[in-house]
């Protein structure tokens, strides 16, 4: 056993990895031992496989899968055996064997994806190499002929192909998340199409950022810089304003936001700033001395309301700090005195 391990360098990692992985799963101790035995047998067979002899391949096929390992997958292992062996044995033509292997690979791939998801995610915490070797090996104990088929398919070693499979599945998993992110991707299934959509979306977002910054740059000279500082102060008071507005005008606000956010955010902002709890801008309108400050305050009010609209849309809770509400009044009083 030790000599075998020395021959295949990657096996040294596998044994500790095996225990690490299988300990995390629901596999019983007995099944773990079975898996290890199976795996050792596989090692022997893999060595012979590297020599690439046909008669040895036949010999491998004769090894029976351990029934103890077939927890939950008895059906297709038997079925696959039935299909696999005769077809492989018969076709000695290189082309035909490749296509068969291809089909079987696909079948086993699908099944494997189901199985590998059953194996817990702790395998992902381990290094990708060890887990990738272990996960499929523990799974594919019952179906040894498939392992050999895959290895023969022109991929250098088992470890590589298995690692690749794991990698591919990770990628497809993340593609699914991306489908949720990128709008309009529900119908596209292929990797290439998904990537195309992602690229288009990222490009469009980046262009939007550029366009918006350009727009703001054109507006910038006409804005006073005081307003920036005002905004900064006001932004820290956002929760207070939200609280006050909500307390005073919740129904009106909600209706407004629902109806108008899509169509006319600016109108909505204006309406909200005029009506409602923020009576400060009204008082400012009355006092004519501070023309410059007024738009600042209304703008801040609008911005707050905008913020609130966004927050409401996201339906997240804001920490309300009612004591800050008085702070807002103080700030506005300061402005008046200025």
């Amino acid at each position: 056993m030790n000599t075998e391990m020395q021959h295949c360098p990657y096996t040294v990692m596998n044994i500790p990895g095996n225990t690490a992985v299988t300990s995390g799963t629901d596999v019983s101790v007995f099944e773990r031992q079975q898996a290890r035995m199976k795996w050792q047998q596989q090692q022997q067979q893999q060595e012979s496989l590297f020599k690439g002899n046909d008669h040895q391949f036949r010999g491998l096929v004769e090894v029976k899968p351990d029934p103890g390992l077939q927890y939950g997958w008895p059906d297709f292992s038997d079925g696959c055996q039935g299909q696999g062996i005769p077809s492989l044995m018969e076709d000695h033509n290189l082309k035909k064997r490749k296509t068969h292997e291809d089909q079987k690979q696909k079948v086993v791939l699908k099944e494997n994806s189901v199985k590998e998801k059953k194996i817990k995610g702790c395998s992902e915490e381990n290094s990708a190499e060890t887990s990738s070797k272990e996960k499929p090996k523990a799974v594919e104990g019952p179906k040894q002929e498939y392992i050999h088929v895959r290895a023969r398919r022109g991929q250098a070693t088992d470890s590589h192909s298995l690692a690749e499979r794991v990698r591919r599945e990770k990628i497809s998993e993340r593609m699914k998340y991306l489908q949720d992110l990128v709008p309009g991707c529900n119908k596209i299934t292929g990797k290439a199409g998904m990537l195309d959509e992602i690229i288009n979306y990222v490009q469009s977002l980046q262009k939007q950022v550029e366009f918006l910054s350009m727009k703001l740059a054109t507006l910038q000279p006409r804005l006073d810089f005081d307003i920036d500082s005002l905004i900064m102060k006001e932004m820290f008071e956002v929760p207070a304003v939200a609280y006050s507005a909500e307390v005073a005008n919740s129904a009106y606000f909600q209706v407004n936001s629902l109806l108008e956010m899509g169509n006319n955010p600016i109108d909505a902002m204006l309406r909200r700033s005029i009506g409602g709890p923020v009576s400060i801008p009204e008082t400012f309108v009355v006092s004519s001395c501070f023309n410059q400050m007024q738009p600042g305050v209304t703008w801040d009010g609008d911005l707050h309301n905008l913020y609130r609209m966004e927050i409401q849309q996201d339906s997240s809770t804001i920490p309300f700090q009612p004591h800050k509400f008085t702070g807002l009044y103080e700030v506005s009083n300061l402005k008046m005195e200025l």
Binding site: R174, I198, L223
Partner: protein, 201 residues
């Protein structure tokens, strides 16, 4: 989970800080310069608003730092974040990137040599349809991953798996950035309309 509204708030705060800083400079800037500064402050605000240090954010910040004109703005904006940490990460990224590039050059040369052999073989064997389709699909995927690598900042030195994760993160923050910027611009427009109206009155 860092909700998007919290991210928006943080981003807005940092962006306004950055705008203040760059607008406080007394020299008059023309339109393009202003736009660049706005965009830069927005990008850096976005990158630093992420509490988890993602690779693309580091790459953005490091790129901005390379530009000597903007380092002041960047350092002021970042403030508490230790420049050492960023320096280390950027150095690491650069070294990894170089290593990856060398490996890629080697791979490419071997692959091209192998390709020529394969072509000869294929002509002899005949190409089966399924193989043909898969090779085309693979080529497409490779092309598009290359494009995506160029788009996502810092994506050059990443393998496919992490590239997709970074792209997801980047898309999320881009969305946040666009939303906030759009609302700020809208508010600014309202403000200016108000001002004009009052002037007229």
């Amino acid at each position: 989970m860092y909700t998007s509204s919290m991210l928006k708030k943080e981003f807005l705060n940092k962006w306004i800080k950055g705008l203040q800083i760059c607008c406080s400079s007394k020299n008059k800037m023309d339109l393009m310069e202003r736009k660049k500064k706005i965009k830069l402050s927005a990008d850096i605000a976005m990158a630093s608003a992420n509490k988890t240090a993602t690779s693309w954010s580091n790459a953005l910040i490091s790129e901005a730092k390379k530009n000597k004109q903007d380092t002041i703005l960047v350092s002021q904006l970042l403030g508490s974040k230790s420049p050492l940490k960023l320096q280390k990460s950027t150095n690491m990224i650069i070294s990894i990137h170089k290593r990856v590039q060398c490996k890629k050059i080697l791979k490419r040369s071997c692959f091209n040599a192998g390709k020529r052999m394969m072509k000869k073989k294929k002509k002899n064997l005949g190409i089966s349809r399924s193989n043909f389709a898969t090779t085309i699909a693979k080529r497409l995927v490779k092309k598009r991953t290359k494009v995506l690598k160029r788009l996502v900042p810092g994506g050059e030195s990443m393998d496919e798996v992490s590239l997709i994760k970074e792209a997801m993160d980047y898309i999320l923050s881009l969305k946040v950035q666009v939303d906030v910027m759009r609302s700020v611009v809208a508010a600014a427009e309202v403000l200016i309309d108000d001002k004009l109206l009052k002037l007229v009155e």
